[in-house]
Amino acid sequence: MKRLNTQSCERIDRGKSLSFQWQGKSYQGYAGDTLASALLANGVQLVGRSFKYGRPRGIMAAGAEEPNALTTLESGGYHVPNARATQVELYDNMQSIAGSGVPSLHKDMRAWMKPLHRFMTAGFYYKTFKWPQKLWPWYEENLRKFAGFSESPKAIDAERYDHVYHKVDVAVVGGGAAGMAAALAAAETGVQVLLLDERQALGGEIISDCAE
């Protein structure tokens, strides 16, 4: 386990344990964990593979800016492609697998291309794959297999959604310190304000800052 000791301000609730599956193995996390924090706590480092050469990748950031931890959640009508592990709130019995790896996270055959990198500079495909002309469709079919992250969902969505239509005077996107202050300032002028945040609670980085 690679957890920090209990902090004065925490997003996790160490009293509520959750189980989840990653790559077919079972792990434990806490309510308030993201999939990413739960994986890190369990010492899981390899979460993805790079787009071109399939090189091993780990979790690098803490939110929407995370480039590597693209995962696939659930299956069937609940399948979510390309879910960023840093943005997904852990829930009990979450099923997750890596969204990259050709053919799999632990064995990526694109690694054999790495020594050929000098022949595969940016945009190299514009300079080639054009002879003989009749082979282009075959080249393309195979190039496509190397691209893309998660598989597409194959079943119809099991959930139903409703469209909420909301009109306000001011919408503030981001509920951290600056966003909350801006929303407050706007509201104090008497206008209708909507404050939006992608996370499950307001506060942004203030929550972690207070831990220091």
Partner: protein, 416 residues
């Protein structure tokens, strides 16, 4: 230097340090024989075919931003030639034939993927129109077939054709030789090929006014100085009226925002192109794995390269209705372009009667990308021979006086 496996291999062994620039950075000369204003796909193609078929002419392409930064870099990459009327069908089919040899011709892989295009029909009238258009195509030697709903379900199992949706699919037209191509590669490929034939590609050069003396064009004033020219071809899409104003003329076009968006990349799931006028959306999957989705134009005129969000909303809803499994795919990026729409949904490829030496290639609206090679080729010949190429003749600007409009709203597709 020809791009090839061998070159990649040789240069790779040598540290990739001697690749020549794809096109050299040059300063504008004081004058040229022909100026092409607009460095998008059509403009660059025009310059290439001019240089190739009319050797000896000094040619420059003037682009106010970076080449391919306008609609060429913003379209949804669809290529097809299944238009209704002879005039347009022949022009787009001419383009399609050029597409089929383009990669080899300009020695640049434009990744033209002939994965077919389906135009769906959701009503009896849709199906009648489809039958008619398919028959017209076949009579013009263009590959086309009518596909039933049952057959569609076999070919594209992930598509919802059932009777319980709001607009059930009744059938479709299909053109097998149609497909998609890599839009940026078309700009870069033509720029490189044109530069190799001596064309000056000049970026960051905005035309600000035209020098016209006694009904003849003399040159243009640009942000990089005055440039003289005997002939000037304007190929600036959404900004065509801006240039027309400099020549004191008005065009029958209006510039509208046209939006598109892509999902995050997924493993291959859709290997063809599906378009629906009725539910207002069309989709394909790029070689990189993203679903590429487009809709109709925003109703108002706009030069902002952005439109209103409810259009994206409706388009996404339409796509999810047709392909329910895509509901959880995430939208990665959304953008807009400026399309110059013509009253008959057909282009203007024409000398301008009021100004000798001035030519316009515009009004392609939402359907320009597919015509890129054909448009460039016939426009080049229209300029080179100072008379409309036979395929361009019907698209003379005079048709808006004679009334000989060519109504392609139906075949123009979703974004008409």
């Amino acid at each position: 230097m020809k791009y090839s496996w061998l070159e990649i291999f040789k240069k790779g062994l040598d540290g990739n340090k001697d690749w020549p620039q794809a096109w050299p950075e040059v300063s504008p000369k004081s004058s040229y024989d022909v100026l092409i204003i607009g460095g998008g796909g059509h403009g660059l193609a025009s310059a290439y075919y001019l240089a190739r078929d009319f050797p000896g002419k000094r040619i420059a392409v003037l682009e106010k931003g970076w080449i391919g930064g306008g609609n060429t870099g913003r379209n949804t990459t669809i290529v097809r030639s299944n238009y209704l009327w002879d005039e347009s069908a022949n022009l787009y089919e001419h383009a399609l034939k050029l597409w089929e040899g383009l990669t080899q011709d300009i020695n640049f892989n434009v990744m033209f993927s002939q994965r077919g295009v389906y135009n769906l029909g959701h009503t009896l009238q849709d199906m009648r129109d489809i039958e008619r258009r398919v028959n017209a195509n076949v009579l013009n030697g263009i590959d086309a077939e009518v596909v039933s709903a049952a057959e569609l379900k076999q070919r594209i199992p992930i598509m919802e054709t059932g009777k319980h949706v709001r607009y059930p699919v009744m059938g479709s037209s299909f053109q097998a030789r149609a497909g998609v191509a890599r839009h940026d590669a078309v700009a870069w490929g033509y720029a490189r090929a044109a530069a190799k034939l001596g064309v000056d590609i000049i970026q960051n050069c905005e035309v600000q006014s035209m020098e016209i003396e006694g009904e003849r064009i003399k040159g243009v004033n640009t942000s990089r100085g005055y440039i003289g020219a005997d002939q000037v071809g304007c190929v600036t899409a959404g900004n065509s009226s801006v240039l027309a104003k400099m020549a004191n003329i008005r065009l029958p076009v209006e510039s509208h925002p046209l939006q598109a968006f892509v999902s995050e990349p997924m493993k291959p799931v859709l290997d063809t192109v599906v378009m629906s006028n009725a539910v207002h959306g069309y989709v394909s999957q790029s070689d990189k794995g993203d679903l590429v989705i487009g809709a109709g134009i925003d109703s108002y005129t706009g030069y902002a390269q952005r439109g209103s969000p409810h259009l994206i909303d409706h388009c996404a809803a339409a796509i999810v209705e047709l392909f329910p499994i895509f509901s959880r795919a995430r939208i990665n990026r959304q953008w807009g372009g400026i399309v110059d729409v013509c009253p008959d949904a057909c282009p203007i490829i024409s000398p301008i009667p009021q100004v000798k030496g001035l030519y316009f290639n515009c009004g392609w609206g939402t359907g320009g990308f597919k015509a890129t090679p054909g448009s460039g080729h016939v426009f080049a010949h229209t300029i080179g021979q100072d008379q409309p190429h036979p395929l361009a003749e019907p698209f003379h600007i005079d048709r808006f006086t004679t009334g000989a409009l060519i109504d392609e709203h139906g075949a123009a597709g979703v974004a008409h």
